[in-house]
Amino acid sequence: MISVEGVGVRFYFDRHLKVVTAAAARLRPHGSTKWGVRGVSFESPGGEGIALIGPSGSGKTTMLRLLAQVYWPDEGRVVVRGRVASLLSIDAGLLALLSGRENAMLLGVLGGLSRRGSRRALESVRERSRLGDAFEQPVSTYSQGMRARLGFAVAEETESQVLLLDEVHEALDHEFRAIVEQRARALVEAGGVVVASGHDHQMLERLCTRAIHLDTGSVRNDGPFKEVQQAYLAAVDAATDASATW
């Protein structure tokens, strides 16, 4: 269901360290480049939850954006079979000036529904998101948790086989977290894949049986969640001790 082969994503910077496109980089000399991830490979036949763990800047978000096809690989190959639902940014893909309803309509169509299907799903999204009257209010008035709830409610309507979560679920209240976990488990049982990243390892462990430890854009460890997590934490402890000694 997911196949990642030697994938790399490169970022181009101008001389003011602003990210630019590849063509713009050619127009502006004295720039630099940096690989967000490089040489990453893994596969998942489906029916599992995969946690991406690692420190900030290790490439977790870049990897999730690759799987969501938000980024294209600059080298290697990514194959994702199945409809993808993603909550990858803190604003859950919502446009601040639009109301919850208007955002739900737009995200539904972007997520793969027809306009008619997206319109039909609006009441269900309103119910699932538990936003009440706030559903008609601009999203700029929402808390992070409310945004994540709306984004997740729309993602559920698109009947995806691959669910990508990037820390967004960590903004959710306990009640809605339980719902996310329940739905994610149901998706995995149905043969789908959940790929989640974040720093709340307890929640990740409940969602995922497998973990991939990313470090400076490369896979450092890939295996059962508990093993990879312990090795990661041991590496963090060792690094902390080394800097304390220094």
């Binding site: 294209w72 601040a96 639009l98 169509v109 972007l110 009947e159």
Partner: protein
């Protein structure tokens, strides 16, 4: 990169290439409409306020230039208000589409960072958003025709073709503007001033015939010249537009599309990295 939908709980893939093409077209139409509706609300708000703005904006512009033509230039000519409106309506479409397209990627940052969708539709969505305001602005032409007692003629039958060429020119400008807005972020005000300048480097304030013979030759290089004159022919002069008035803007728009659409195709892969 490949994404294949292959599950029982999503619609089955069509069996034929024709079916796939139709499905893809319908999907693009749905997407374009959803992006445009969201853009309209984002830029113009909701309710009667936005319609009022669309209706009043061209009147305000014509009013300013009408005063300029009548009192400063002292060149009133036949139906100067209608002649101005015939230039302002097509210019506003191109100008507002360019302004929209330059911001089109930035304002869609949340969705660009969250999910995959056909990004080639973004400039088309900018064009459709602004063409809604454009259609409302035709009211000024009707009002001016009534004010100057200019009766509609059979030349109005050319209007759909003139509007289509105008939309095509705006869409081509939108593809270029979207990329230039990304590449030359800090030069956006200058780029907008350049487009605004095209109004004055064309027969915007006075008709082409009122310019000197030498100036006419130079002004014809501006693709907006043909558009302004075509609208004047249809509404004011009551004759069919001359072929060059439509073919030249069409040719320029096609050349811009040939240059920028392939570039856009490769650059759209980088949008999420730079927003």
């Amino acid at each position: 990169m490949e994404a294949i939908v292959g599950s029982a709980n999503v619609p089955r893939r069509p069996r034929t290439r024709f079916g796939a093409a139709v499905r893809s077209l319908l999907r693009s139409a749905d997407l374009l409409r959803a992006l445009t509706e969201a853009d309209l609300r984002f830029r113009y708000g909701r309710g009667p306020g936005r319609f009022l703005r669309w209706l009043l904006e061209p009147f305000a512009l014509v009013g300013i230039y009408l005063l300029f033509v009548t009192f400063v230039l002292d060149r009133s000519g036949p139906a100067p208000g209608l002649s101005l409106a015939c230039a302002i309506v097509p210019f506003q479409l191109v100008m507002s589409t360019v302004a929209n397209a330059m911001e089109a990627v930035d304002i869609r940052k949340p969705i660009l960072l969250n999910m995959r969708f056909e990004r080639k539709l973004i400039p088309l969505s900018s064009t459709l958003t602004e063409s809604t305001a454009f259609s409302a602005s035709f009211l000024i032409v009707v009002v001016m025709m009534a004010a100057y007692h200019v009766a509609p003629t059979l030349a109005l039958l050319w209007l759909p073709l003139v509007v289509l060429v105008n939309l095509y020119l705006a869409a081509a400008a939108a593809y270029a503007a979207t990329l230039l807005g990304l590449w030359l972020h800090e030069l956006k005000p200058f780029l907008l001033s350049f487009v605004r300048m095209l109004f004055f480097l064309g027969p915007g304030i006075v008709p082409l015939a009122a310019a000197s013979a030498n100036s006419q030759e130079i002004l014809r290089f501006n693709p907006l010249t043909g558009m302004f004159e075509a609208y004047r022919d249809v509404f004011l002069n009551g004759v069919a537009p001359a072929p060059w008035e439509l073919l030249y803007p069409f040719g320029i728009a096609t050349a811009v599309l040939f240059a920028f659409v392939p570039l856009y195709g490769s650059e759209q892969r980088q949008f999420a990295k730079v927003v």
